[in-house]
């Protein structure tokens, strides 16, 4: 039985459709990515699935609980942990007091809960800092503490909404390492992000959304849909971009110094590209196929069609 099963989920705010037509499943132990640009509806989706916002349409089952929730959703929120984009910690309170508050809200035995919290604090390098006010913590430390807070009640499912947003590279890395450790121990995680390298490193499958579902796929499958032909030329590749793009199937061509990258939907068209570039006067030193970068697949999926742009 999937931990998350979403069917036709929709949410509108007044006249504005934040997200619609969402359908996907997340299996137990999976790290599932929700990918999409800013304003794509990722946070709204997480809020619906975590029992914070009722959907305007569609249904979902999360940890065996139905969405929209019956009553006030206490049962669902007890089973999930949510790391919000902002850590949302109380600055004047110590780390210990922040965690104690979370334990009290969840009705967890304080002795056992604190023992578990101490283990997570030690794992994330925060042990020994638990009696300091959170206001004195760095951004990375705060985010790691917020992850510990989301874990102390032992949730079946963890939602991480933009966990490294606004962090410097070093802090972002420590937070990513912490998430990787949680993934390694088999936790079910839904990770919201527009950071593709983060998603590539942590997730097995992704749903790409931009107000509606664009695709649900394994990362490897997403990259394999199409290929890149990389040509190492004698001089500047920029001079041959137009020649490649003039082909009838209109491939996207990019120049990086002497390297000409041509993105192809159909690998069988590679010889045509090579011929067109050579006919345009290029001297090709090396030609090789490469898997399409995730970034390209992602950008293609979220690119607005003419109808959407309005």
């Amino acid at each position: 039985m999937p931990t998350v099963a979403v069917s036709g989920l929709k949410r509108v705010f007044g006249e504005r459709v934040a997200v619609e037509g969402l359908s996907f499943e997340v299996e137990p132990g999976e790290v599932f990515g929700l990918l999409g640009p800013n304003g794509a509806g990722k946070t709204t989706t997480v809020r619906m699935l975590a029992g914070l916002l009722p959907p305007s349409g569609g249904t979902a089952t999360v940890c065996g609980e139905r969405v929209p929730v019956d009553g006030d959703g206490v049962a669902l929120r007890s089973k999930v942990g949510l790391l919000t984009e902002q850590p949302g910690l109380y600055d004047r309170l110590t780390a210990h007091e922040n965690l104690l508050f979370a334990l009290k809200l969840h009705g967890v035995d304080l002795v056992a809960g604190w023992a578990l919290a101490l283990r997570y604090l030690a794992r994330f390098g925060l042990k020994g800092r638990e009696h300091e006010p959170v206001g004195a913590f760095s951004k990375g430390m705060r985010q790691k503490l917020a992850i510990v807070r989301a874990l102390v009640h032992q949730p079946q499912l963890l939602f991480l909404d933009e966990p490294t947003s606004g962090l410097d590279p070093e802090s972002a890395r420590t937070v990513r390492d912490a998430i990787a450790e949680l993934a390694a121990e088999g936790r079910t995680i839904v990770l919201c992000s527009h950071n593709l390298s983060e998603v590539e490193r942590l997730c097995t499958r992704v749903a790409v959304i931009k107000n509606r579902l664009r695709t649900v796929a394994r990362l490897g499958d997403l990259r394999r849909e199409g290929m890149t032909l990389e040509l190492l030329l004698d001089g500047e590749a920029q001079a041959f971009v137009a020649a490649a793009q003039a082909l009838p199937f209109k491939p996207t061509a990019l120049a990086e110094g002497r390297l000409l990258k041509v993105l192809l939907d159909d690998p069988a068209t590679a010889p045509d590209v090579l011929r067109a570039v050579v006919l345009a006067g290029a001297r090709v030193h090396q030609a090789q196929r490469a898997a399409r970068p995730l970034e390209e697949a992602y950008l293609e999926l979220v690119r607005e069609s003419p109808g959407e742009a309005a």
Binding site: F13, R47, A50, G51, L52, L53, P54, G71, D72, V74, R77, S78, V80, L82, T84, Q86, P87, G88, L89, Y90, D91, R92, L93, E97, F101, A102, K104, L105, H106, G107, P133, A146, R149
Partner: protein
């Protein structure tokens, strides 16, 4: 109250109270008003007691319609000023919860702590109850403690009159233990409702603070001799506040809706 869990409401109360204790600036603001409301009447009483046979005191007493002799004018004026001062004293139980609640409710938005709080199993009603307790308990405690200090100070200052203890009296006891908590409830509800609408603690404080102005007007009317204070007036005030408080609770419950909080504040 189906599904209401006291342990979660008390957790919110615990956290807010802890946060309040560590918020020095807010504590200083909260201490200023009680200090003024205790020291100023003691100073006025001292002015009357310092020279109780001053013939001007009789003239002042006569202005208030009293037919007292010169020997009793000072005591009359002491009682009068303490009766009238009670209306100003009520500013404290209104204003202190406004300070606390505006910070505790709208402050959640400013600190971006609301979404993680709403993501926990706590319900909107439990948040409302926990935050209201965190506002009402210190407010009523301060009000009672300030009253104790006022009694001691006034009785010390007024002792030379030789008429025994001036405070506490029936009106002040009824006022502090019945009317003041009702006003504290009012201040808290007003701050919660305004915070739920504006979501900015300073603006919420300023708007809610306007609700003390009728009390200032009432006190002005009393000092000018147009309104009469006393136990009966306090009882009428209490009855009115019960009705007002019940209405405000209904409004606060409606506004303190989970989705509204998240979409307006989150």
């Amino acid at each position: 109250m189906k599904g209401f869990a006291w342990h979660r409401a008390l957790a919110v109360y615990w956290k807010d109270f802890l946060d309040l204790r560590k918020h020095r600036a807010l504590l200083y603001s909260m201490a200023a008003l009680p200090t003024v409301l205790v020291v100023v009447p003691a100073g006025v009483v001292w002015a009357y007691v310092r020279n109780p046979h001053d013939p001007n005191l009789k003239v002042m007493a006569n202005y208030y319609g009293a037919t007292v002799g010169a020997d009793h004018a000072a005591r009359f004026l002491v009682d009068r000023v303490l009766t009238d001062w009670f209306t100003l004293y009520l500013i404290m139980p209104v204003f202190v919860p406004i300070l606390i609640s505006s910070h505790a409710v709208a402050g959640e938005k400013e600190r971006r702590t609301l979404e993680p709080l709403l993501a926990s199993p706590v319900t909107a009603l439990e948040i409302l109850v926990g935050k209201s307790l965190a506002s009402l308990v210190p407010s009523v405690t301060i009000c009672v403690a300030a009253f104790a200090a006022l009694c001691v100070l006034i009785d010390v200052v007024a002792w030379p009159l030789g008429d025994g203890l001036v405070l506490p009296n029936a009106m002040w006891l009824f006022g502090v233990f019945v009317v003041a908590p009702l006003f504290a409830f009012f201040g808290n509800a007003v701050a919660v409702i305004i915070s739920a609408r504006v979501g900015d603690s300073r603006l919420a404080q300023q708007l809610a603070g306007l609700f003390v102005l009728p009390l200032v007007g009432m006190a002005g009317g009393q000092f000018a001799g147009f309104l009469k204070g006393g136990l009966e007036a306090a009882a009428v005030l209490a009855a009115v506040m019960v009705v007002v408080d019940v209405s405000l609770v209904a409004v606060a419950r409606r506004l303190f809706d989970r989705e509204r909080l998240l979409t307006r504040w989150g």
